[in-house]
Amino acid sequence: MSLWSLLFDPDNSIWVYRINAGSCNGCEIETTPLFTPRYDAERFGIKWVGTPRHADVVLVTGPVTAVAKESVMEVLSQVPDPHVVIAIGSCAVSGGVFRGSYALEGPLDNLYPVDLYVLGCPPKPEGILTALLEAKKILKAKRKGQHQEKPLVVDPAGMVMGR
């Protein structure tokens, strides 16, 4: 990597926005330390932004509840293309312990295509950091038009009560 691309390539600095879709705040507690001196994601050029219109990467935590669904979809529709959506924690990935509840509009990938999943309840900050570094590569491929779109994952069991 040349010094020029390190300093001026937009692929090296991704801007991150976070949505809480009905989370218990466990995943937020693990996400926030990324931007503190202990983990310091800014040394990789990752920056926290306050509006989805500036974001390259969207972190979603929590199972998408019936109340939160409308807001989540509106926020995701405002993110400019190309963007990467990362689901953080068991709830956002599959519904977790709330899977099959009447108050859920399903896990996130039933509603919107998700690029990366960080598993765990809650995941370690290192895991989220790894996902962000991986998102850099996906974003680069998407800008060049080389990224292969995955089909929308629909978990039929995600909507069924119990087993």
Binding site: S90, G96, Y117, K150, D155
Partner: protein, 192 residues
């Protein structure tokens, strides 16, 4: 006085390393008792369903297959609570704290799975699940082909035959080498 304290700190900070964890270059430092991924040992499993019943997220399932039963843990639902490890009566599950996190692009295939095959009863030939190594160790002190064969005798045959008869039949089988599922019984085949 205060200026002296501040100057001392500034002087120290000029020569100490930053407190930031150098994560991608250096591995994650895990605390003792960290709950990582759930490891599965099919040799020990007796398919008792305790983990399935106690899992708070319904992440574990046991499904019958042709020639055996398959145990599956779906990591996309797993909470790493290790209740399954606590309730497992035969030490078939363990806490593998070597994997601190997992990032995937395909959540449906993020699973831990294993299969326990069916073996035939040495006396009547009826299909029974492969006996667990832990159970054999607890009942007969050590895991040998002879003890495994003894444990594979089906319940009906145990009622019909006396223990001395069973011992004699197993001695005969070991001499002749006529047992068809010996590889499965010893864990060389069929276990995944």
């Amino acid at each position: 006085m205060k200026v002296g304290v501040i100057l001392k700190h500034i002087w120290e900070n000029l020569f100490t390393e930053p407190m930031t964890k150098k994560f991608p270059k250096e591995p994650v430092q895990l605390p003792e008792g960290f709950r990582g991924r759930v490891g599965y040992i099919p040799e020990n499993c007796i398919m008792c369903n305790m983990c399935v019943l106690n899992c708070p997220a319904n992440a574990i399932e046991i499904k019958p297959e042709e020639d055996g039963k398959r145990w599956t843990l779906h990591y996309d639902r797993c909470l790493n609570c290790m209740i399954c490890v606590e309730v497992c009566p035969v030490e078939a599950l363990y806490n593998d704290d070597k994997e601190p996190f997992r990032v995937v692009t395909d959540r449906i295939n993020a699973i831990e799975t294993g299969k326990v095959p069916m073996v035939s009863c040495p006396i009547c030939g009826k299909k029974v699940p492969r006996p667990s190594n832990t159970m054999v160790k607890r009942m007969m002190k050590e895991v040998t082909p002879r003890n495994l064969l003894k444990a594979a005798v089906c319940p009906q045959c145990k009622k019909d035959h006396k223990p001395e008869e069973i011992d004699a039949i197993i001695d005969k089988i070991l001499e002749e080498g006529s047992y068809p599922d010996m590889d499965k019984l010893l864990g060389k085949e069929g276990l995944e």
